[in-house]
Symmetry: C2
Subunit: 260 residues, 2 copies
DNA sequence: CATGTCGTTTCAAATAGTGAAACGCTGTTT
DNA sequence: AAACAGCGTTTCACTATTTGAAACGACATG
């Protein structure tokens, strides 16, 4: 899923914005990337990209592979990410509750937030069975195709649903909802019952149960979920599993100052 | 320790460079910071800082506290840091060995790298006793006052030792080496025996034993260390402890393709 | 009420950034 | 071996962006 979204942003300077998008693009590549490919991706000249890469490299955000000349993300992102990790209430406040949810259900537990228009995995607590894809921290999840995404469509800013309405809904698996009206009905159901599920929609054979986390002002600030194979989390989930997720989400919300 | 180093960097554009330094500065603050304080810190105008903050905020690298108007680091750093974590061989390759070292010695274990001129903690494996300060990932360590720093002075680029020679050596504790000639002798000793120690130099009552990690080209790419109270790691460390650290560093180096 | 400091905005002036084009290098193809 | 393609790097005339002094309204403080 490419994130090279050249969308206009209020007050952003084009020079800085391009540089930030370049470093983010590199962070999501699987290996070093040629400067020419970066230039093509962003529709910028090689000279401009080269200048940005030098600037980013001088501060450690980017590095150049000496053998191939290709560019890669630098360690500074990881370092700064660690340096500021404790600054995010959601993650530190939620962690004990998420570990308890994992212990109670045995499934992998994830917490997501809306970051720059995307629903992103902030932290993963591994379950008995290891699920890597789509749960690794940093991963962006499709709004229409994931349980987390549906929570955000149901309880998040209205602009999210508006944006999804206007875009095609790509299929990740044969079960992914791609019809806008089916998605609207599903989102309405999520809103009604307070939790979401997405059996087979991201990965075949895998299901997720997600619930919303609110802050002291009643705003959706995160979503949490258990993730596991369908044999452990059936398409029609057990009440106990749903209650475990919803209950944990409520406790985290209360810890953040939320009042029902 | 302020890192607002306005040092000239080859090929860096000043606009981008200032913005990167601002986000890094925010990452190391303990809470939201006023725009005016940021402007003062970097000697830039409030209008310029405002523009950069808006640009950084539009991509999630910075956020503004709605109640106070102050600026804080955004979750995007943490997210991207996680997204690219697996891309750093050193950390993933070293992890099993570091866990084993921790199990063998019982002490906290850290791995550091040189990032943008600083020795920075990349990862921490907690020991039996918890030591937080100066070992949290993202923390920058003084070259002259830490065991990790001395490894880099002894085995890293000569420019590091040159830079330290030209700067005053601030004292962190009464035991910190502040005399340049004493430091040179200490670094020479580190080079000779292949490991370093720094009892009481960073924190009183705490000691560290560090050793170098080389890559397939024989370059220093990281340093690893055990950290603990002096009652567990005496100023004159036990041979077994030294051998455990040095041995682990060698195994990690070999895993990275190093040949003695 | 006066004062100080904040974040935000404006816009003339200044400066930085842009990108077409060229270059040398390297790997691939013929 | 020669030709070709694509790479990263550099140049510099031109363009566009960025800069920052100044002003503003909001808010906290004395």
């Amino acid at each position: 899923m490419s994130d090279v979204l050249d969308r206009p942003t209020a007050g952003a300077t084009s020079t800085l914005d391009l540089a930030l998008r370049i470093v983010e693009f590199l962070a999501y590549q699987s290996g070093p990337t040629t400067l020419a490919a970066i230039a093509t991706e962003f529709g910028a000249s090689k000279a401009t990209v080269h200048r940005h890469l030098r600037g980013l490299a001088s501060r450690g955000f980017v590095r150049q592979d000496a053998a191939t000349g290709r560019y890669d993300v630098g360690v500074k992102l990881m370092v700064l990410g660690e340096a500021c990790r404790s600054r995010f209430d959601i993650v530190t406040t939620a962690r004990p509750e998420l570990i308890q949810l994992r212990d109670e259900t045995g499934q992998a537990v994830t917490i997501c937030a809306l970051v720059d228009g995307d629903v992103v995995v902030l932290e993963l607590t591994q379950g008995r069975t290891v699920i890597e894809f789509a749960t690794r921290p940093g991963t962006k999840l499709a709004l229409h195709a994931s349980a987390h995404g549906k929570i955000w469509l149901a309880f998040g800013p209205a602009a999210l649903l508006d944006a999804v309405r206007q875009a095609p809904l790509p299929a990740w698996t044969p079960e992914t909802i791609t019809d806008p009206q089916t998605l609207e009905r599903d989102v309405a159901k999520v809103r009604e019952r307070g939790w979401s599920t997405a059996p087979d929609e991201v990965i075949s054979g895998v299901n997720t149960i997600a619930a919303p986390v609110y802050d002291h002002q009643g705003r959706l600030v995160a979503s949490i979920a258990i993730v596991g194979a369908k044999q452990f989390i059936p398409a029609d989930p057990a009440d106990a599993q749903v209650e475990a997720v919803v209950g944990t989400a409520r406790r985290i919300s209360r810890a953040l100052g939320w009042r029902e």
